[in-house]
């Protein structure tokens, strides 16, 4: 008997055929992938541009109250003014230096301590409850205490950022270190690896991805907390710029500050993504 072909079958039965064949993505996979990336990148840019344009339109048409929502063109103009007067650079530099020094201080202490606490069971058991309790204290709440001890200078603000980053990174590092798979430690022990060697070759790299996640979260918190501190206890910085613009009734400057803060947050996040990419080549 000859095999039944589709045409014969179509004549003999009333059922329909469902054909499964290559689609556009399969026929031109490279072109399809290129078009899709292009569209996705385009959308990522297009959406904020559209939102800002809409804002501009509504503000220009008088729909939005310009005292609260000045048109983006006005904000851009005052941005240029602030740049020309040097106030902007001063503000960014002030905030950025507090964020960077506080972040580096808090994070490096936290990673070093976290590695030790995570690998020594007795220390972990002894300290974990205390660390969890301290972690939940909103760090902004201790700003007055820091101001009392260290005065209005840079130290109190840098320490605030450092403390904020410290606990987030510490908790993540301890968790990362203590959850390293025992299989890897078995390998180390069966090779007769020393404590130092185990730390460098096994614990540190195994815990690195989660530690870096903690560091990325901490960078965002550093930006948030420094703005809060600058509201009340600074005479320079982006937080001060926003707060002072409210006092002076210049909403345009307020927006310049707000947008700049969020830009710093985005850039710091990107930098840390880059650091992650460099430090964990096996996860690329």
């Amino acid at each position: 008997m000859s095999p039944v072909t589709r045409d014969q079958e179509a004549v003999e039965s009333t059922g329909t055929w469902r054909t499964i064949a290559p689609g556009p993505a399969e026929l031109d996979p490279r072109g399809y992938a290129r078009r899709r990336t292009l569209m996705e990148r385009g959308l990522a840019i297009l959406v904020p541009v559209a939102l800002i344009s809409l804002w501009q339109l509504l503000a220009g048409a008088g729909v939005l109250e310009s005292n609260y929502f000045p048109p983006p063109s006005d904000i851009a103009a005052s941005w240029a003014d602030l740049l020309a007067s040097g106030v902007y650079q001063e503000s960014v530099l002030a905030s950025l230096s507090r964020i960077v020094s506080g972040y580096l201080l808090g994070t490096s202490c936290a990673v070093a301590l976290g590695m030790v606490i995570g690998s020594v069971r007795l220390l972990r058991v002894a300290l974990e409850p205390t660390i969890s309790a301290l972690y939940t204290v909103p760090k902004l709440a201790i700003l007055p205490l820091l101001l009392l001890i260290f005065g209005l200078g840079e130290t109190s603000k840098i320490l605030l950022v450092a403390l904020t980053c410290f606990f987030v990174v510490l908790i993540n590092t301890i968790d990362a270190v203590s959850s390293v798979s025992p299989r890897y430690h078995d390998v180390g022990r069966s090779c007769g690896a020393s404590r130092w060697s185990t730390l460098v070759h096994i614990t540190l790299p195994a815990a690195l991805p989660q530690t870096l996640t903690g560091m990325r979260i901490a960078s965002g918190l550093a930006v948030i907390v420094i703005v809060g501190a600058e509201f009340v206890a600074a005479d320079a910085g982006l937080g001060f710029l926003v707060w002072n613009s409210w006092n002076l009734g210049v909403p345009e400057h307020m927006y310049v500050g707000i947008v700049s803060i969020s830009l710093i947050g985005v850039i710091v996040g990107l930098v840390l993504r880059g650091v992650e990419w460099l430090l964990t080549p096996w996860n690329r």
Binding site: S181, R183, Y184, D186, V187, R189, S190, C191, G192, A193, S194, S197, H201, I202, P205, A206, L208, T280, P281, W282
Partner: protein
Amino acid sequence: MPPTQPVKIAVRKLGKVFSSGAGSVRALDEIVLDVHDGEFLCLLGPSGCGKTTLLRVMAGLERPSSGTIDMRHDDPSRSLSAVVFQDYSVFPWKTIRENVIFPLLQTGVRRARAKEIADHWLAQLDLSGFENAYPDTVSGGMKQRVAIARALAVEPETLLMDEPLAALDAQLRLLLQEKLLDLWQANQNTVVFVTHSIDEALLLGDRIAVMSARPGRIATVIDVPFDRPRHPDEIRASPDFAALRDEIWHRLRRELQPA
């Protein structure tokens, strides 16, 4: 291997009890076993019979609850033992070459020399060209070959293998069994090889220690009569192989079905 060879590993009345909140489990009970120089000994048994625990005690990763294991260390310049673990033991953060270099550095080998040794063993396991790849970018079979290369590179006096092929698919497993036979033929280490596959034990082992479960005991020790060097296809086709496999299977079956 004739039993006239001197004893390399002497297991004496070894017991291991795991205690937890709910109670305790006797993983090993009064184990007595000799492993001889240059012998390939397979520990065969159903899962949960304690064969991995016995291997871990030999490797120094676990302390016995009672009894002792004595291992003769002939050459202090060589490692006494190296372990090939079941799976997921290759460091994902190190390249394949660095994985093999790691234990060498622990024994005091200089980096340049360690690199040469690593490349030699990677070539032996057909991994040349993948030295700089990260383990997660290669197949499971290749990862397990890295684990084997890592253990062989330190040229241990005894090689302890914990179901090194269990996670591989059947075809890959056959290929790696052949590879292990070749490597053993060339190096003649003392090997303790944990497996739950009767075929694998018969193909690789000089003797098979069949274990029973709960508590883990040595039920019987079987001599494998096949001549070396072995050819896997011939052995699998021989009537002796079928007969021995049946014998061991009936023995194991009784262990698995309590009357």
